[in-house]
Symmetry: C2
Amino acid sequence: MNPLTERQKLILGLIVQDYVESAQPVGSKRLVDHYGLDVSSATVRNEMAELTDTGFLRQPFTSAGRVPTEEAFRFFVGELMHRQELPSSLKHTISHQFYQARHEVGQWMRLAASVLATQAKAASLITLPQTQQARFKHLELIVTTGKHVLMVLVLESGQVIQQMLVLKEAFPQERLSSTAEHLNNILRGQAASEMPAPPQEMGTLASEIFLLVKAEMERLGSGFGEVFHDGWTNVLAEPEFSEGDAAQRALRVLEERPLLEDLLNQVMNDSQIGGVQVLIGGEGRWEHLNDFSLVLARYGSANAASGYLGVLGPIRMSYGRAVSTVDYVAGLLSDMVSESMGGTEARE
Amino acid sequence: MNPLTERQKLILGLIVQDYVESAQPVGSKRLVDHYGLDVSSATVRNEMAELTDTGFLRQPFTSAGRVPTEEAFRFFVGELMHRQELPSSLKHTISHQFYQARHEVGQWMRLAASVLATQAKAASLITLPQTQQARFKHLELIVTTGKHVLMVLVLESGQVIQQMLVLKEAFPQERLSSTAEHLNNILRGQAASEMPAPPQEMGTLASEIFLLVKAEMERLGSGFGEVFHDGWTNVLAEPEFSEGDAAQRALRVLEERPLLEDLLNQVMNDSQIGGVQVLIGGEGRWEHLNDFSLVLARYGSANAASGYLGVLGPIRMSYGRAVSTVDYVAGLLSDMVSESMGGTEARE
DNA sequence: TTTAGCACTCTCAATACGAGAGTGCTAAAA
DNA sequence: TTTTAGCACTCTCGTATTGAGAGTGCTAAA
């Protein structure tokens, strides 16, 4: 209830720090010995008793050391933690790697997943950058052989969708090109929701393609598409998951798509690009995350495409490192998005 | 040494079957009771003692039941197993789902991973279909805004590569289209290895794009690209992985790319499309797979693109189900590949 | 060759016990 | 009033012990 004294904050911070490193309950004596406190262990014990009453610490059993509660981690993240920025030499290396991967979105994603996982020593998740509302930009139809036609659909956000179509009959490339050109003129700048039914006078070929384009843009609007990830072995290596079903529960976040979509929508629904959200434990809402924490951010640019990224680790994770890593990578990806899709903001 | 008698084969088969279901060592009495053998448990014990000498069974400790060795599973898969085909109603449902996903390769992959994981109750892995040698088919350059240009590169295998380029100066669409057309004429049908250096007389823009195309096609040639997967929770749910580091070792197959590439290259190097390879235990060569088995197949069409797919589960897995599932899905994907890239075989 | 019978072996679960760690409390010191 | 030393107390964890039970291997008879 009462605000914590400075000394209590110090002790709480040290307990969190020690527990994060050791995964062991922390005792009063250990605290005094290792961190050179200028009070005795008895004094620490008194403070610890108080912190236990306040709900920040708990004892696994009568005479073990103390373990921080989820509440303590939330307090730590909110008020005690200081970021552990990546060394700038490392930042240079990383941004150089991103520069080399600049051409292909899939490569950014894999790289970002790998960097997040390695630096935060946790599992990482990233969704593809997507627009709120997909808008048509350009359509290209390319004959491959006979009835097989490759449809390449470009959205204003820069997303590209490719589909292989098998038509009922073969058409020459010129016919397909002119059809594509025709549709380009009709559809440019439109969202799926604004598209009418194909006009009566439109040819069979054109209206078939029209409907495919519309259907595909509608499909794009739902869900996050592919989710990239890395570093699950980091999580499985943590002692708290060496037995029991916790690890399995966490993997469900990856494999049961609705779970992840629900989670991101609820946690990030009002978050701006630039901030980092920390979810500690299931927060009573997500049982399968009961022993895990998530550090999440949104990246991209507000009026073009944006996506989510984050790391998942044990509650006992190094938040200082995780938050600054997530923040840094989110910034990098935001730069990548606005650079490579640079034109799109000009629509304003 | 001596070939097994029919009765020994029967008993070995039953032990494997029972152990797969129960995950418990199998005793002689249990065998007689549950499977209605018309011999006594003492007789079974004698046979079991012999099978133990031969190396097909082992006892976890002096007086537990018997557990099949890896050798036994290999024998089982080779000679005793009968496939457990999926019910045909299920096959219909599945092939219908594939039909609906026919337009986009990523969707096939996700669907196939999901079907494999669900039906074989194991983790699934699939690589994208790729050609041995990427051949240029078509290039398209699309202005997005100002200096930002989208490059769409189509290969004869049907693969499409998209890249966002930022040029040094802005060009009008017509200029880019004619450059693309020019390159299309020069490069059609060529593999990266056959491409010369860009001719001197070629313009700066054209040769810049030329080099990008070449570099990208070379990059494509190495590695499997993205690997789709599903069903790791199935594996983590197995009792043998509830503790220990086995689960972590298995996930490394996914997260350490060279491991997977090495594995697929060695196991599948001479395999034809149509066959199923079974890898039981690490086979002494892959330590991290020591407690796991893999059922692998190649799909695609020999002269167009092909890829690998398979499931990973405990050694104690239901091979009958896994083999027929992998085989069935491989067949489906092969059909998808040859249908959607149908034209390509015509090159012959 | 098969089978009944039986002694034997080894695991697993339950129990007991001591060492050790860390606490909470009390009373003295600052 | 706050801090500290001292100490009894509590509880876990590792080790040792024990008994029940499961399943075997062997022997001798069918």
